[in-house]
Symmetry: C2
Subunit: 336 residues, 2 copies
DNA sequence: AAAATAGTTGCAACCGGTTGCCTGAAATTA
DNA sequence: TAATTTCAGGCAACCGGTTGCAACTATTTT
């Protein structure tokens, strides 16, 4: 009942040609005559021939697909994926997405799966609690280039694209100072080893630049859970000296922090101004949204990282003339 | 410099065995002796042998991967993808995700790509404005089963998993009535042909059940843009008789509608209660969130759809005893 | 002791393309 | 006219596994 799926050999049989000729004719190989080429392409169209991608991948040792590893497809990385897709599709590549849920073990597993699937290259943002990147070592052996983005491990000799936050954080502090704030707190994310801690650096630099003294108890670290943020807020606010503005690690944290201040303990403390990083589109619907945020341009990061990846892919044959690339883009302070 | 990637033939050469023996030994084939099997597996471990998935896919005509087609990886479909992944990974399958951005042309393109990649099966939520599903026809020829979920075309003889909304919508109306509302509006999504319009049905049924008359001007249709929602709200509120409660198509729309009422035209109209469908986690941070929402269980839908897909995949050899499945799950009214 | 059986392993085809090299015919040049 | 070049197409190996079947050895049965 079901139609047979046409293959090259089938078409060769029909046209009484060899399959190599058909293969070449389909790709407009110059060695094949015009008449033959047209004949073959006509038949291919009639039969709805579609090349078997599996066979091509196998024979060319190229899957024409790249792997993307992110912690989670939240709004932020979703934007990054769009950038990656746009670049990949423009190069006729497919995209395989895997989420690590920020767990090192899952990251190792999905990386292994991708290697076994023989993706041609990988764009990755490492897990927050990955202690190392040795699991990426094997990609070298398999000649699979890797470009890290956004969360970039702090080791030499890798491809990376990331968005520096220190300068914008200084601006963030300056902005708050210009609004009259002098007691500025920072609730940072977990302090994991392989990733740079630029929010903290910018926080210090911003205080120095504005001639403010840093109060160490204004600096808190929270895991990224709601409860963790509540605890950090609790500690922060239980101190004698209370901040008048808080810089939070990201928008999810700012939501929790604001919620704690205004809903969990309403009226207990004077209101506080918030500023944050990245940006959830839904934040703008809040009655009192954060005053400002630092845009980290996830779309652009994803796109750039993929461009780097393709340069590495094309340069695989000449590794000596294709050194690793490390691109840094500047984040931007956005005031509502 | 780079290590060679070990293959079966390489190991066969080292052990002076045939490659078929090595191949079988690696998979614990009973016909292979214990000593040989152990020997082979020992060497495989030493060499870090990893089977070439491309070669396996090619020779078995199975890619061990399924395709997922959704309009966008927003929060809602993101949950669905988790359900799909959980089920797929449990069956040692990989997942390829593609977003259509709700455009028919992109849907056709990604579907074609997946077919060329020879995914073993597809789980799809069709684009909102897809006029038909004929582009899925070719999957039959390629023996690629398709399971539609969430947005299910209303045609016979397909696999589908969806969540009925009519009963919950009746409950939604009843809930609002119990809160004293008698003038209840509905801002629905675009009325596209292939997908059932259960919100509207439930809206009518709910009015009948509660002995309320339906005012046609309380029923609006908006595209899913912010501006579209603003316009619908504007029309709704410009009428002499104003609603005291509004049912919105989804949470994004409720955010825009509330924003319009409270921020764009503040104080102009008496406040209105909102209820909605699905649920953004960030909604709870609003000062006046919707009172209730209808949970559509995207995770469960995704998981169930994938289970159906695997049953279809396993039944491919016996299509006569594997009829299409159509599962319907019940949505649930959740009151904050 | 011959025959049947069970347990191992190898041979070779196959999956559907790609590609280096060869061949034969036609066209051009010497 | 013979030699050379060009053009068009075919042959066969290859990518790295899987699999049906044959073959060989050792053991058991008759």
């Amino acid at each position: 009942m079901q139609n047979k799926i046409p293959t090259i050999q089938e078409m060769a049989r029909i046209l009484k040609l060899s399959k190599s000729t058909v293969s070449r004719a389909l790709r407009n190989h110059p060695a094949i005559g015009l008449r033959t080429t047209q004949q073959v392409q006509k038949l291919a169209k009639e039969l709805n021939y579609e090349p078997n991608q599996m066979a091509i991948s196998f024979s060319k040792k190229k899957t024409m697909s790249i792997g993307v590893i992110v912690s989670s497809l939240d709004v932020y990385f979703h934007k990054a994926v769009f950038g990656i897709e746009d670049c990949a599709y423009a190069n006729d590549y497919n995209v395989l997405i895997s989420q690590t849920r920020d767990e090192y073990d899952i990251e190792k597993k999905v990386l292994e799966t991708m290697r076994k699937q023989r993706v041609d290259g990988i764009v990755a943002s490492i897990s927050r609690n990955a202690p190392d990147i040795e699991h990426f070592e094997k990609c070298k052996q398999y000649n699979i280039p890797v470009v890290f983005f956004d969360r970039v491990p702090d080791v030499p000799n890798i491809n990376s694209v990331w968005c520096r936050l220190d300068i914008s954080t200084v601006e963030l502090v300056s902005y708050l100072v210009s609004k009259g704030h002098e007691k500025i707190a920072l609730i940072n994310g977990p302090d994991t080893l392989p990733i740079k801690n630029e929010r903290l650096k910018g926080y210090y630099d911003g205080h120095i630049k504005n001639g403010l003294k840093v109060h160490e108890h204004f600096i808190k670290v929270a895991d990224l859970s709601t409860v963790g943020t509540y605890e950090a807020m609790d500690q922060l606010l239980s101190h004698r000296v209370k901040p008048s503005a808080i810089i939070t690690f990201n928008d999810y944290m700012s939501l929790d922090a604001m919620h704690y201040l205004r809903k969990v303990k309403p009226g207990r403390y004077p209101d506080i101004d918030f500023v944050t990083y990245s940006n959830l589109p839904t934040t703008r619907y809040l009655d009192r949204p954060p005053l400002a945020y630092v845009d980290q341009f996830p779309y652009e990061q994803g796109k750039l990282a993929t461009e780097v990846l393709f340069r590495q892919l094309n340069g695989l044959a000449h590794p000596e003339t294709t050194p690793p690339e490390n691109l840094i883009i500047e984040s931007k302070l956005v005031i509502y």
